[in-house]
Amino acid sequence: MTGDPVTWAALAPFLALAGALVNGLFGARLREPLPGVIASVAVGAAFVLSLLAFATFGERDVGVGVRLWEFMPVAGLDLAVAFHLDQLSLLMMLIITGVGALIHVYSIGYMHGDDGYARYFSALNLFVAAMLVLVMADSYPLLFVGWEGVGVCSFLLIGFWYRQTQNPDAARKAFIVNRIGDAGFLVAMFLIYRTFGTLTISEVNAAVGGFAFGAAALTGIGVLLMVAAAGKSAQLPLHVWLPDAMAGPTPVSALIHAATMVTAGVYLIARSAPLFAASPDASAVVAWVGGITALAAAIVAFAQTDIKKILAYSTISQLGFMFVAVGVGAYWVGIFHVLTHACFKGLLFLTSGSVIHGLGGEQDVRRMGGLRRLMPVTALTALVGTLAIAGVPLLSGFFSKDAILLYTFSSTLLADHGSLVLYGALLVTAFMTAAYMGRWYLLVFEGEPRFTAEARAKVHESPRVMTVPLVVLAALSVLIGYVGLPSFAFPNLIAPWLQAATASVPFDYPPVWAEWLLIGVAVLVAAAGLALAWWVYALQSGRPVTRFGSGRIAAFARSGLGFDALYRAAVVGPSEGTAAGLALLDRDVLDRGLAASVTTAGFMARAITLLQTGYVRNYALAMLAGAVILVLVVVIAGVRA
């Protein structure tokens, strides 16, 4: 460590790791809430270090490197456990440790009385450590350490309540689908090494300039990195694990499956910004995957009835927005939406956790309603989150979503790849987002209660330790957007900050009146979406939808557009068949066949019979005799020479 406070941030992952170790080794002997307090303090301390580094980073134009120890110094690779602290990684660290600390505190209340209390906090701390390594790594292999590390923690936490069959099943699905993405990441790294001769991210980014714009190698690497990102960030067609991952405890859904881990793919693209900026084809893949995912997931979110699955599909859809942003070359905008989304979606998940907690485990929105009067703090904060994600003016989601729409509209990088169509798709998605989130809020908190009077007697507002994080996140969901005001008319803090660490792509900005017009369209769309939700679910008590909801289309949407069935038929079934076939082939055909062909050879057969007559001693003797013969042969050969 040096005197530069920025380098102290290198301690952050180790603080979280220490928390994980303490709880993992001794947590079972500690009394509640001590494990939760230890874990929260560890992440809180990591947040303080991150904030200090953020505050003292200043006007530097290059990142600060912190080299800890050698990792894989082979074949010209200078791979160390080394961190690269720049504007991008420091902002991500703030999100991870800031939102992370709030969710840790919330968990102290949420996990109260659970058998695996210490195990939970150990895994959650370990997750924070891995996630920090992911965003701080200076090389792709070290980033991959964090990348698979968060996958392992996600596996542990989705399957946290492992006695029920469906939870481990969901955990397994998440791990395996993520491994498909990880395989893409591995091949991407191999191709990067072949192309650039290095795996250090800053060296790769610097070397991109030596290649022709749109070079095939860059496009290949970009597409492979997007495969990795699609797995981790639940984009089509590798999104299928995220809805199932809701089997984990709700704070886990908030931290891992909404605020941080699932945005790792967006981070990966932003981290490799110069590479994508030089390859319109790879960028187009990123943006189109994001755009299609955003729209498809919004459709599915409409049909869900589980309070968390609505939010899960909403997350997939919002991640799609982020991928469009980094796809069209607006890297800072993608990360800006990561920031605002971490606040409002983390908040929404925590409010849903509060509801589930208050209702004693109920998750079906058809058996909720009217909770505003019973859980006022939860309801109010949930309303803030809903309005923020819907894009209501002056709340955080409005600014970041608006920036995505604007930059997609003005893209030059993808002007030939249908950026205007993407703009249209996102506009439709924005309308649907406001509508399905309005539906979510109204079904849960407004109208008449649809649960039994007996259940009603037990409903309670959550304890302070849970509601305080809600209030803090709600405040952030209102305020955080002001760091990224529309730059054509206002000072924008986040754009220059992040552009220094990513890449600048030219945009074809419309005139100022047109920018105002675009904002107006976005506001109208959000208002229309909320109005639709209000009309259907408040005024009509959901009647048009109950008629519509039993149809075949709704069932198809509810099933997630049939992806699970498709995978079962096209991937899982054939794979299992192949495995069974190979197992049979190996054992009953090849093994038996080889054995038979060996034993039918007359000489060998006799030799075997001879050998079979004895005991182990005879085998040993035979070996010895063999060795003697061998030595003799060697001697003869040696003499001849």
Partner: protein, 490 residues
């Protein structure tokens, strides 16, 4: 002299153990012997080389040098042998002393073959080590041990015979002064491509059996299934999977032109083995069969790392070999601990035991995730570099072998969940203090090899450079390259 002590000490312990009638006495001797041998192994790095004439008639030397790849493997193997000896002395109830004697004999043989710098000496240890592994299988194996033993023996002898022909011929053909590595290395430059290819084929057959590689792998599955359920013999067998080491230390540097001719075929076979075995492992119910296939898949990755003939892949292959000693070995010990609890090696007779045995579950998870290549843990550096090297040589082989990573994820999490999670009401005892002692070195090594691979990789790379440079020299003289090793060092 440390190297000689390391080879002889376990042999002395083995001899003493043969005369230990009382199980308790045998256990005490084994414990002291294991600690003493391990301490010797720890002193190995930095200790000097030994070279004295042995059979002057044909130029064989007693030559050991701990400064090479074998030195690292000897250290890691010794680290794994300590818990193995400990566990065997706890779990092998019949003829404990003799079983332990066989284990120590293997230890000695492994040390010899890792440290030998004379080809004849290497061969003698290679063959000698076969005997204790046969003894353990034959004396303490399961119901079908006879068939397993026969299969193992036939494969091994066939492979050894081919290697013997190569060894017999290489010195006179190359006109080397002795069987010392350095002399052979200097002399084999003169061999033409055809001769090199034939000689390499002899090595390759022996090493492919011992690696093992498809389709010469069937002995491995039966070998593990039939060995003593404690898993101790399986660990020793895992350490004895030295085909990759033989290729790395002898066949590739001495016969690079031959290797270059055979590389495309063997690269493809290695990639196929990696995926094929991992896919079959997803279907296995028997714990030891599953581990055998998983281990076979790792060996496929070792093979692609070697036959990519790239500096990163060669170093990574050796690293993976060292790491899988710890992880596969550790998993065999854990399977023995499970067997000690419920008397079964069938995964289906477990389930839900994490509740009653959380510490055992945690250790299993760590070692299992290490085994499937989760970064930060033991296998990853080797697996990553081996695959990276293979990809530089052949995109197709590299991508095919990467598919094994996905299949490994499938069998890895499936296994953990079938054993430890789910609603089954099974209850077992958690780790006992002695079992903690047995697993502690495995856990420590899993983290050490995962987090601090640099020093070991440097040793492997220093050896691998010899091979890569010879191939480069040959290429400069001859035609267009068969494999890309151009941009090795920048």
């Amino acid at each position: 002299m440390t190297a000689v002590t390391l080879v002889l000490l376990p042999l002395v312990v083995a001899t003493v153990l043969l005369f230990a009638r009382e199980a308790l006495v045998a256990r005490a001797i084994a414990l002291i012997g294991a600690i003493a041998t391990f301490v010797t192994a720890v002193l190995l790095p930095g200790s000097g080389a030994v070279q004295v004439p042995w059979i002057p008639t044909f130029g064989a030397f007693i030559a050991f040098d701990p400064g090479h790849a074998g030195g690292v493997l000897a250290l890691v193997a010794s680290l794994v042998m300590v818990p193995t000896v400990l566990w065997a002395s706890l779990r092998v109830e019949s003829n404990t002393g003799r079983f332990l004697a066989a284990l120590f004999a293997m230890w000695s043989g492994l040390m010899g073959l890792f440290l030998a710098r004379d080809l004849v000496l290497f061969y003698v240890f290679w063959e000698a080590t076969l005997i204790p592994s046969l003894v353990m299988l034959g004396g303490w194996g399961g119901a079908q041990r006879r068939q397993a033993l026969l299969k193992y023996l036939l494969y091994a002898v066939a492979g050894s015979f081919a290697m013997l022909l190569t060894i017999a011929a290489i010195k006179p053909l190359a006109g080397a002064e002795s069987y010392l590595f350095a002399d052979l290395l200097a002399a084999t430059v003169s061999l033409d491509v055809l001769t090199q290819t034939w000689l390499f084929a002899g090595f390759a057959l022996a090493f492919a059996v011992k690696l093992p590689m498809f389709p010469l792998h069937h002995w491995l599955i039966d070998f593990h299934e039939q060995n003593h359920p404690s898993g101790a013999a399986d660990v020793a067998g895992t350490l004895y999977k030295v085909g990759g080491f033989g290729l790395f230390a002898w066949a590739l540097p001495l016969l690079p032109e031959g290797a270059r001719q055979a590389a495309p075929l063997l690269l493809a076979l290695g990639a196929f083995t990696a995926v094929y075995a991992a896919v079959i492992a997803t279907r296995a119910n028997h714990l030891k069969r599953l581990l055998a296939y998983a281990s076979l898949s790792h060996m496929g990755i070792v093979a692609v790392g070697l036959f990519g003939l790239h500096l990163a892949g060669l170093s990574g292959a050796m690293y993976l070999l060292a790491a899988q000693m710890v992880t596969t070995g550790g998993l065999f010990l854990i399977s023995g601990m499970l067997h000690a609890r419920r008397g079964s090696l069938d995964a289906d007779s477990y389930g839900g035991i994490a509740a009653s045995a959380p510490a055992l579950a945690a250790v299993t998870l760590l070692v299992l995730f290490a085994s499937i290549g989760v970064p930060g843990l033991a296998n990853f550096p080797g697996e990553f570099l081996a695959l990276l090297g293979a990809f530089q040589a052949s995109t197709a082989a590299g991508v095919l072998a990467v598919l094994a990573v996905i299949a490994a994820g499938v069998y890895g999490v499936n296994l953990y969940q079938r054993l430890y999670q789910g609603p089954q009401p099974n209850a077992v005892a958690d780790l006992r203090p002695l079992e903690v002692v047995v697993l502690a070195p495995i856990v420590a090594a899993t983290l050490w090899l995962g987090l601090a691979p640099a020093a070991q990789l440097r040793v492997f790379e220093a050896d691998a450079i010899v091979t890569v440079e010879r191939i480069e020299q040959a290429q400069d003289g001859v035609d267009a390259p068969l494999v890309a090793v151009g941009e090795v060092r920048r």
